[in-house]
């Protein structure tokens, strides 16, 4: 008894110290921003993070799929925990007692693992197919909250993983957490934080917090969320390269992080942060940057040190960040670029040293001419006035624009040049066309238009390709169960279409009327862009090792044309679309380098785009040669 009393007396000050420290830590949320260093996971890609009760963080990586523990001082365990085979692309993690964790995989697998990475139990979760993006504790600490990117839903599961309640109306719910009884969801498609009381309300994006933009309180692709003391919310504002701190009232009170350009140094700079967590014992915020393969830790800033961050958003140099897709006008001079980061498409005159942007159209939203993540794009052949079709992923529609541009003299921007002609809601159209019925709404990615006027758009959610005519009437569908899994690129190829499948590493050639596509092996690659050259060869980009390859006419082993992750003249970084014009010039969208690379028919290399990424910026030429 005496011992017990003594213990209680001794622990009193310790407990009160912890409580006091905890409050101080939480109050420091509005002063976060001082970089405490980074933890590297290269070559693995960190994807999810949670804080630990005793302090520190747990981080999940993919490629390879591992669990890392980082202690309060920022030191990483010497060895990671290897995750079970079913967890190959983890997306969420939450701590449990006894050092166990609840984890969820992109494929929909949800379960508990122990500290050694062994399965303890599997939880059922929502009915398949579903694609989780985030995992959190339920309101009041009861059960679990998970998001489903495939259906745009959020689910509340009980402790055994059974669905208690589900809510719809989201586009891309990427982060979730509960503050008291309220649920907060970050929706990348809406660029908003949607909050609701699950007992009394339905989520309503129209009254949600934020909008697409860079100003305080606006968001650009919000991703991870975590709450602090039920008072604050940390949000990783991905495309703004910062973390914002919101109060429960929904007002943005603070932000930290500035976009890091080249070289991608840390020191408080961020590059596409995704997941975020807060260590309550130390007041340290952990921010995951998958593209940098690292975790950055942030503490409280010295109040004396100058903070230029508040100015930065006002001087943001909104340079084009080419997305994953672009298109060349056949027999013309135009280049159309899809820019999902800025929710717009732009049209440039391409046959100049530096392609000149004549106009753009877009902005975030669902009204005509706006987008919710534009993806695939292509010119419609054979029109008197150039026309472009754009896949509008979040709005599940196609939009067709006319670009009545004519060369008249000095290049200049012409506002309102690009004009909307028509659009079609594919979800509605599917109801009228039985072959298009599917269990989940379409998720549009790559797009191509053939010479015959057929428009083919890839539906990622249902592993198929939808076919329409130039008036957006449904005319068919390509499906190849087991063969076509994740179409990342498509191009018109004579009487058919060439499709790149990143999951299988294959190229497929579909021809209307043929049930089975032709398969073209590429080796162990992740093709993300493809097109046919006039000489019959096939050019494709490989997302796995940052390269451009060429399959000779008639087939055979792929030859490497450009390779190596970097900004050098013959290097690429996360390349995407490939388009080849009728003269044989190859246009490569070098996405990660914010630039385009053009290989002329004679092998000369040319680069254009964001200056810091041009290989010969100092020399001023931007030109080279492919051997």
């Amino acid at each position: 008894m005496t011992v017990l009393l003594l213990l209680l007396l001794c622990s009193g000050p310790v407990l009160s110290n912890w409580a006091q420290n905890s409050t101080e830590a939480e109050d420091g949320v509005l002063s976060l921003g001082h970089s405490l260093g980074t933890v590297s996971f290269a070559p693995a890609v960190p994807v999810a993070i949670c804080s630990l009760e005793r302090g520190g963080f747990a981080v999940l990586t993919e490629r390879p799929a591992q669990l890392w523990i980082i202690d309060s001082s920022g030191e990483r365990d010497a060895e990671p925990v290897v995750l079970p085979g079913a967890i190959s692309r983890p997306r969420g993690i939450m701590p449990l007692s006894r050092g166990h964790f609840m984890v969820v995989d992109r494929s929909g697998v949800l379960g508990e693992i122990d500290r050694k990475g062994r399965w303890v139990r599997t939880l059922p979760g929502p009915a398949a197919p579903w694609q989780p993006a985030a995992l959190a504790r339920g309101p009041g600490g009861k059960g679990w909250l998970v998001t489903d990117l495939l259906r745009g839903q959020v689910h509340h599961l009980d402790a055994d993983g059974l669905v208690q309640n589900s809510w719809s109306g989201f586009i891309e719910p990427t982060g979730i957490c509960a503050i008291g009884e309220q649920i907060w969801v970050s929706d990348r498609g809406h660029h908003r934080l949607i909050r609701f009381d699950p007992r009394t309300e339905q989520p309503d994006a129209t009254t949600a917090i934020g909008d697409h933009g860079a100003a305080p309180g606006l968001l650009a692709a919000p991703m991870g969320l975590c709450s602090v003391a039920d008072r604050w919310l940390l949000v990783s504002d991905r495309d703004n390269h910062r973390v914002q701190v919101f109060g429960r009232h929904g007002i943005s009170m603070h932000s930290f992080g500035i976009h890091s350009m080249l070289p991608r140094i840390a020191l408080g700079r961020l590059h596409y942060p995704t997941a975020v967590a807060f260590d309550h014992t130390t007041g340290v915020c952990g921010v995951i940057e998958p593209s940098e393969r690292r975790l950055q830790r942030f503490g409280v800033r010295d109040p004396e040190s100058p903070v230029p961050a508040a100015e930065q958003w006002q001087r943001v140099d909104l340079v084009s960040h080419y997305g994953a897709y672009w298109a060349l006008q056949r027999g013309g001079r135009l280049l159309a670029v899809s820019e999902p980061d800025s929710e717009r498409i732009s049209v440039l005159v391409r046959d100049l040293e530096n392609p000149f942007e004549v106009d753009d159209i877009g902005g975030h939203g669902s009204l005509p001419t706006r987008f919710r993540t534009p993806t695939g794009i292509d010119f419609v052949p054979g029109t008197a006035v150039p026309r472009i079709v754009v896949a509008d992923r979040g709005n599940r529609r196609l939009q067709m624009f006319e670009v009545p541009w004519r060369w008249t003299g000095p290049m200049r921007r012409e506002p309102a040049l690009i004009r909307l002609v028509r659009s079609v809601d594919l979800e509605q159209l599917a109801r009228q066309y039985p072959s298009w019925h599917a269990s989940v709404p379409p998720r549009l990615t790559a797009l191509a238009c053939s010479e015959s006027g057929t428009i083919a758009v890839c539906d990622d959610a249902n592993a198929r390709i939808l076919l329409l005519d130039a008036r957006f009437r449904a005319i068919g569908v390509f499906e190849a169960p087991g063969l076509l899994r994740e179409a990342t690129a498509i191009s018109a190829d004579g009487d058919g279409f060439l499709v790149a499948d990143a999951q299988s590493g294959q190229l497929l050639r579909f021809v209307p009327g043929q049930l089975v596509p032709e398969l073209i092996e590429t080796g162990s690659t992740m093709p993300v862009g493809v097109d046919r050259h006039p000489d019959g060869s096939i050019w494709f980009t490989n997302g796995a090792n940052h390269s451009l390859l060429r399959i000779p006419p008639g087939g055979g082993e792929a030859e490497v044309i450009l390779a190596g992750a970097g900004t050098g003249e013959r290097q690429l970084f996360r390349p995407r679309a490939v388009r080849i014009d009728e003269d044989g010039a190859v246009w490569v969208l070098d996405h990660g380098n914010h630039r385009g690379v053009v290989i002329s028919p004679t092998g000369e290399l040319r680069h254009f785009g964001s200056k810091p990424y041009l290989p010969a910026a100092a020399a001023g030429s931007g030109k080279g040669r492919v051997q």
Binding site: A416, R422, E427
Partner: protein
């Protein structure tokens, strides 16, 4: 009800009165058929195409629709007014199910109408948008979107406000 008139068993028929009855009934039937045919051919009355001050005729992007748009002439600066008109498809007014959206903006200044307007369909088949206000002088781009089922097509025109 049409009665079938049969000969009796020994081949004798009824007198001429029955024949007349049959003829009358057939005539009535033919008349009814003709009436339905004529009524069916006549759709809703096609309005006479308005012309003159304030009216603009605009074709949609692919020529599917013809929009007859009316604005005050000249359109006032920074004062509310009602934009109205008709949408024709193949020379006929569009169905009541079709949705029409009127909007305006100054793309060179990256803004739209200061207060968005709601476009409603009128009982006579036309459309109107109340509260349109061009709050700045200069060139305004006006758009009329016609939505039928999953398909939307746009007509647009410019107007100069002084």
């Amino acid at each position: 009800m049409i009665q079938h008139i049969d000969a009796d068993q020994d081949g004798n028929s009824d007198g001429p009165g029955c024949l007349i009855l049959i003829l009358v009934l057939i005539s009535l039937l033919l008349g009814l058929v003709l009436l339905f045919f004529i009524a069916g051919c006549q759709g809703t009355a096609t309005p006479a195409l308005p012309t003159g001050q304030g009216w603009k005729t605009i074709a949609s992007g692919d020529g599917t629709y013809q929009v007859l748009l009316h604005l005050p002439d000249p359109a006032p600066l920074n004062q509310e007014f009602t934009a109205s008109g008709w949408v024709l498809k193949g020379g006929e007014p569009i169905s009541d199910d079709a949705v029409v959206h009127f909007d305006g903006g100054m793309p060179q200044h990256a803004h739209g109408l200061a207060v968005p307007v709601v476009t409603t369909r009128r009982p006579d088949g036309g459309f109107e948008a109340q509260g349109v206000r061009f709050h700045m002088g200069g060139r305004w781009l006006l758009t009329v979107d016609v939505e039928e089922g999953p398909h939307l097509e746009r007509a647009r025109t410019w107007v100069e406000i002084r």
